[in-house]
């Protein structure tokens, strides 16, 4: 009885935490939208279209963060064989694919008026497209086998090896000649960006990070529920005893 009450209380607390995180994400996204669309000045060269940067760059950075979490969770899974690490990796990979796709689409919307083309085989674009394909393959591999431990092992290997592309994407503008500009914020010396623009950009990164935390809690809950449904379907004996 006490255990049931404790479980119910824990569930209620975690759900209310999830709601609070959702509200925080919504508020942060609203503040970020005001800063980037109203407060930040238009760019001296590109004009209004440069405002896409305030969503494009955070989406790209969050994709890096998501895949870093996949990398760490994959190592942790291979080391401990605990299902919870596999669940974290799967959730973060799915959200990472969302952010990578978003970064690509937003880049295309920015590239058309500035570069005159939706797409070009620039090193940054090409390596980002490869990154997207790696993690789409990661999600596809997870659907190939029904054996949970085999699925988790295969996925963990891709989650670790696939992460190699993240530093390549980031450094591609330094290593090769690219249409993309070089590092503006993370560089030696002061950032090469006006103060209000930097504030709007950082607000975007914070808002997207809170949104990622919220999506992770939701996606982890979905993962747990889907596993429970699969367990119910696959083990009639256990179900009959309940």
């Amino acid at each position: 009885m006490a255990a049931t009450a404790e479980r119910a209380l824990g569930k209620a607390t975690s759900r209310s935490g999830e709601h609070l995180l959702g509200i925080a994400a919504l508020v942060a996204l609203g503040v970020s939208a005001v800063l980037s669309l109203v407060v930040a000045p238009p760019d001296a060269v590109q004009g209004e279209v440069q405002r896409i940067m305030y969503v494009h760059v955070p989406a790209a950075w969050l994709a890096y963060l998501c895949f870093f979490v996949v990398f760490i969770a994959s190592i942790a899974y291979l080391k401990t064989k605990k299902t919870r690490w596999d669940r974290v990796a799967a959730a973060s990979a799915e959200i990472g694919v969302l952010f990578t796709s978003l970064a690509i689409v937003l880049g295309m919307l920015w590239g058309k008026p500035v570069w005159g083309t939706w797409w070009t085989w620039d090193p940054r674009l090409t390596t980002t497209a490869v990154l997207l394909m790696i993690y789409v393959a990661y999600l596809a591999i997870r659907r190939i086998t029904d054996n949970p431990s085999r699925r988790a092992r295969w996925a963990a290997v891709i989650g670790i090896v696939g992460f190699i592309d993240v530093p390549i994407v980031h450094l591609s503008v330094v290593w090769w000649r690219s249409l993309h500009q070089g590092p503006t914020v993370f560089r030696l010396g002061a950032p090469e960006i006006e103060g209000t623009m930097l504030l709007a950009l950082l607000a975007g990164v914070v808002a997207f990070t809170i949104t990622y935390a919220y999506l992770m809690t939701l996606r982890l809950r979905v993962g747990r529920l889907e596993e429970r449904a699969a367990r119910e379907a696959l083990s009639p004996l256990v179900g009959a005893e309940r």
């Binding site: 209004e48 896409i52 919307l109 920015w110 008026p113």
Partner: protein
């Protein structure tokens, strides 16, 4: 309207639709999984 403002509007709309759409999809998946598990458990109880 400023030149190229359409691209900015499209960019922010795409962002809102992607994040909002994915969140709603997760809610739907959670509801479906809960319902599936419940249906199987109920059938067993009846059987």
């Amino acid at each position: 309207m400023a030149p190229n403002a359409g691209y900015v509007i499209a960019g922010y709309l795409v962002t809102a639709v992607a994040l909002g759409g994915y969140t709603l999809r997760l809610f739907a998946r959670a509801r479906d999984a809960k319902r599936r598990a419940q249906t199987i458990a109920d059938r067993r109880r009846v059987g």
